[in-house]
Symmetry: C2
Subunit: 224 residues, 2 copies
DNA sequence: CCGTTCTTGTTAGGTCTTTGACAGGACCAA
DNA sequence: TTGGTCCTGTCAAAGACCTAACAAGAACGG
């Protein structure tokens, strides 16, 4: 992934850095809300459990956000990162599939706070259609394509049953969605210009299990 | 993280490999259920969008699971990976915080299939206590420590409000939990022998946004 | 029996990522 | 002013990770 930094130079931003940018932003918004005005790379890095030099290195890809001797100003850093990540202008999204997971995500307030207002929820189940979650009504799936076109929705959350995942994704993409956040435990195939992010919840659990299993077992083997 | 492989040699298994093991297992279980008996590194790797050599390299840390010339046998590979990851023996877990996200996770059937049966759900809200989710009753939070001790629970899912996250986590750990799957948007501090995995849902969304933002903008910059 | 075509295990080399080190700016106190 | 302390941007070296390449085993057909 390439970007142009604020000095007009072109850089290839490593994936590892991209993955950390949201962490920085998330933490900085918390600081901002707490009234903190300035933060040093060391403070921010320590709170995220990474090295300060890595944080500065990451920022360096974008030309840096301060100057030598001056710590970062939270009120400048937040909008700068928001712009880089692409949440400076709110990114409206929809949730397709209003099962328990879909409803759970619809109730998650954090998304809105970080620039992803929920605009619509869709499901085929007539018993769910008409219900409201935090003011957003659940609409019939058949209305989804029209809704996406009309509101210019670019990001869709996929929480439908596995067996219809690919079909529903196709409909979303045909209607104009370019980013799919896939919670179904299957791979979905898409045209190359569409980004899919698979959120395999069970993977997180298994990583946890791998590590906890080795605790208390044989101390000689524990080392990470 | 170090392990001993099946040839008696000690290896340091890279984090990157550990992160992929659950993906392998997940895919293999799907194949197994579909009745597939054999699978080659190329087939498996392609379906996961990685290189075959990487997959073999990963397996190599554990001594390999076949021999030159013979593809992997699904029925042998699945239990072998289960044992390595630590889900050969089911890992019972609890969910603490029965809000919408907690309920959504409690309804997610996949966990059980992968070796993580849900044994208990806890919340302070009297309106929730007594409800059942898939046969598992929601119990008062005050009963959690006793329940953890009695049932030997090692893994807990944390889906409580942010402001009580640290306090509830402390209670879980004091009762014997050694793996915390943290869904709250805050860091929780724990003793070193406890593993915490932070599941920052918003981070996934922001990564998606970072990439979709650059699509269709300036094609010269798109390259990853 | 031999050649072809599939495999895996193994390793060396290249690539990506992290880290430590340092130059130089800013601020403060004496 | 001077010295001390904090800070960032920058880069080179070290470390972690991935990949291409290949030896060698297995299966099959002729």
């Amino acid at each position: 992934m390439r970007v142009v930094n604020n000095k007009g130079k072109k850089f290839r931003v490593p994936d590892a850095t991209i993955l950390r940018l949201p962490l920085y932003l998330d933490k900085l918004i918390l600081l901002q809300q707490a009234g903190v005005k300035e933060v040093s790379s060391r403070q921010l890095a320590t709170s995220l459990d990474i090295k300060a030099s890595q944080l500065r290195h990451d920022f360096h890809y974008f030309g840096g956000f301060s100057k030598p001797g001056r710590p970062y100003q939270v009120d400048k850093l937040v909008p700068a990162l928001e712009e880089i990540i692409g949440v400076d202008i709110p990114v409206p999204m929809i949730i397709v599939g209003a099962g328990h997971l879909g409803q759970g995500l619809a109730n998650y307030r954090n998304f809105e706070r970080l620039g992803f207002p929920l605009r619509g929820i869709f499901d085929v189940d007539p018993k769910l259609v008409g219900l409201e979650i935090r003011g957003v009504p659940i609409r019939p799936l058949s209305e989804m394509p029209g809704f996406v076109k009309e509101h210019g929705i670019k990001v869709g959350v996929l929480t439908v049953p596995v067996n219809v995942a690919q079909d529903v994704a196709n409909q979303m993409i045909a209607a104009g969605v370019v980013g799919v956040w896939n919670f179904t435990p299957t791979d979905i195939r898409t045209p190359p210009q569409v980004i899919v992010r698979n959120e395999r919840l069970a993977v997180g659990l298994m990583c946890l299990s791998f590590k906890t299993k080795r605790i208390g077992q044989n101390d000689e083997l524990r080392q990470d």
